[in-house]
């Protein structure tokens, strides 16, 4: 569903992505991992068109994303830090997005998530008064309610309490079983091990290792993903 060919991105003097080649297909949770500053968020933003690549090609469902914008109707994006227009209430934000986007809006999903996250009581509150965790829930809500085919979730469970976090993970698994593609980043390895099928390990703007979760653990000869990834990182630090 998403194909990245030879992607380069340079911010001034810093080269953040150095030739990424990647193909992601539906029905899987792919986790993009890597140390801070390895280019995870930039890669996701490039697919979304928020960051304009220096060179390379990105195809979403066969459509080149450069100069196009309609492809974003297939995508739901949950940014790392949820940001909203501050003066709107939650209800106004939801109605506005429905009004602007329309496509794919599913009131049942919305209800389900509002109930799951207990967001009903915040409906008439201004968004700037919400706590970090609640904002994260709102962000998940507006991502899932359009029932997109492709999800980009940038550290989705950060700031969520255990109940909400497991609810969100259940939702993610549910989407994958319906053949959706979920791409997420995370620094919590146990969580990645729990929900991800594939792993893309980024290091200094390049794909260092790529494969199934079990394969990576086996290859490293470690007990769990956290140790396997730690071993990978160590290797790269020494190199």
């Amino acid at each position: 569903m998403v194909k990245v060919k030879n992607l380069y991105k340079r911010f001034g003097k810093v080269e953040v992505l150095k030739g990424i080649n990647l193909e992601l297909t539906g029905g899987k949770v792919s986790a993009i991992l890597g140390p801070n500053g390895s280019g995870k968020t930039t890669l996701i933003k490039a697919v979304l068109g928020l960051v304009i690549p220096t060179s390379g090609e990105i195809l979403v469902k066969g459509e080149n994303v450069r100069k196009s914008w309609s492809y974003r109707k297939y995508i739901g994006y949950m940014p790392q830090i949820a940001v909203f227009p501050e003066n709107l209430t939650l209800k106004e934000l939801i109605n506005m997005l429905i009004d602007i986007r329309k496509e794919g809006y599913n009131p049942n999903i919305k209800e389900e998530i509002v109930n799951g996250f207990k967001l009903e009581k915040y409906m008439d509150k201004k968004l700037k008064t919400l706590s970090g965790g609640t904002k994260q829930k709102v962000s998940a809500l507006i991502t899932f309610m359009f029932d997109p085919e492709i999800y980009f979730l940038d550290e989705p469970t950060v700031g969520l309490d255990p109940i909400s976090s497991s609810f969100l993970k259940d939702k993610i698994r549910e989407q994958v079983e319906r053949g959706r593609l979920v791409v997420l980043t995370s620094h919590i390895m146990s969580e990645v091990e729990e929900i991800a099928d594939d792993i893309v390990f980024l290091l200094e703007g390049q794909i260092y290792v790529q494969g199934k979760v079990e394969e990576i653990i086996q290859q490293a000869g470690e007990r769990n993903l956290e140790r396997a990834i730690a071993k990978l990182m160590e290797k790269s630090y020494n190199a």
Partner: protein, 262 residues
């Protein structure tokens, strides 16, 4: 895009700055009409406001709006909406609201005092004042958006806005004066004519002054303008130049906005 615009207006009407801006012009124009019942005199005073205050407020508020809505822009950009619509919706939302504040502020007192006016009502003169004020809003908001798109850093953005204002309202006049004095042995009509077109503030001033019979207010550039074109051709030319001055920063800003990383 129309939907985006709807939410822009919705947001702007809650904005207190627009209200202050409206009240400022309302009170100023009302008090001017209270003291003198001659529209020509009121226009002469308001003109100074139009060429100083309108650009300043448009620049400052335009920059504030753009920086404040960065979060909102990021949210919109991850939705299936193209960048051009977002930029134009923001621009029209800001300019139409600011222009409405200015327009109502100067128009309502005029209509209110219309019956008490002594002498000619000067409809056309008053209309041209409003036109040039609206143009100033469109031109300098376009500059503000261009600046806010260019500079990631707010402080730099505000600095640049103030510099643009200083340049067009004060420094530019100084440069023209310097050129006139330095090259006084040469025929300067045509160069000065071109120089005046390179400054939107000067053009807006000339656009209104051309109709007033107060030659002292024309200044050097205005006098040359009047000599070179007659009133009508001069107004048409200055109108055209103001359109160019709106389109130029707007397209440049849009071009930058389309390539920007968020």
């Amino acid at each position: 895009m129309l939907k985006l615009l709807k939410y822009e207006f919705y947001n702007m009407f809650r904005n207190k700055w627009i209200l202050f801006y409206f009240l400022f012009f309302l009170i100023l124009t009302s008090s001017l009409f209270y003291f003198t019942k001659e529209p020509a005199k009121v226009v002469a005073t308001l003109l100074q406001m139009v060429i100083l205050v309108v650009p300043l407020i448009s620049l400052i508020l335009g920059t504030i709006f753009m920086y404040d809505s960065r979060n909102f822009i990021e949210l919109l950009l991850s939705q299936p909406i193209n960048r051009k619509s977002i930029y134009f919706a923001k621009y029209l939302g800001a300019t139409v609201s600011l222009s409405a504040g200015f327009l109502l502020g100067v128009l309502l007192p005029y209509l209110f005092f219309l019956r008490q006016i002594e002498g000619s009502a000067e409809y056309f003169l008053y209309a041209s004042l409003i036109v040039s004020g609206v143009f100033m809003t469109f031109i300098f908001t376009a500059f503000a958006f261009l600046i806010a798109t260019f500079f990631e850093d707010r402080v730099k953005g505000f600095g640049a806005s103030i510099l643009v204002w200083l340049y067009f309202t004060l420094i530019y006049d100084g440069i023209i004066l310097f050129i006139i004095i330095y090259f006084q042995q040469y025929p300067l009509e045509k160069p000065v004519l071109v120089l005046s077109m390179l400054n939107p503030v000067d053009i807006a001033r000339i656009f209104v002054i051309l109709q007033l019979d107060i030659s002292a207010l024309l200044g050097y550039t205005g006098t040359i303008f009047k000599k070179f074109f007659d009133t009508w051709l001069g107004m048409a030319t200055s109108f055209g130049v103001m359109v160019v001055w709106t389109v130029l920063p707007l397209t440049l800003g849009l071009w930058k906005f389309k390539k920007k990383d968020f």
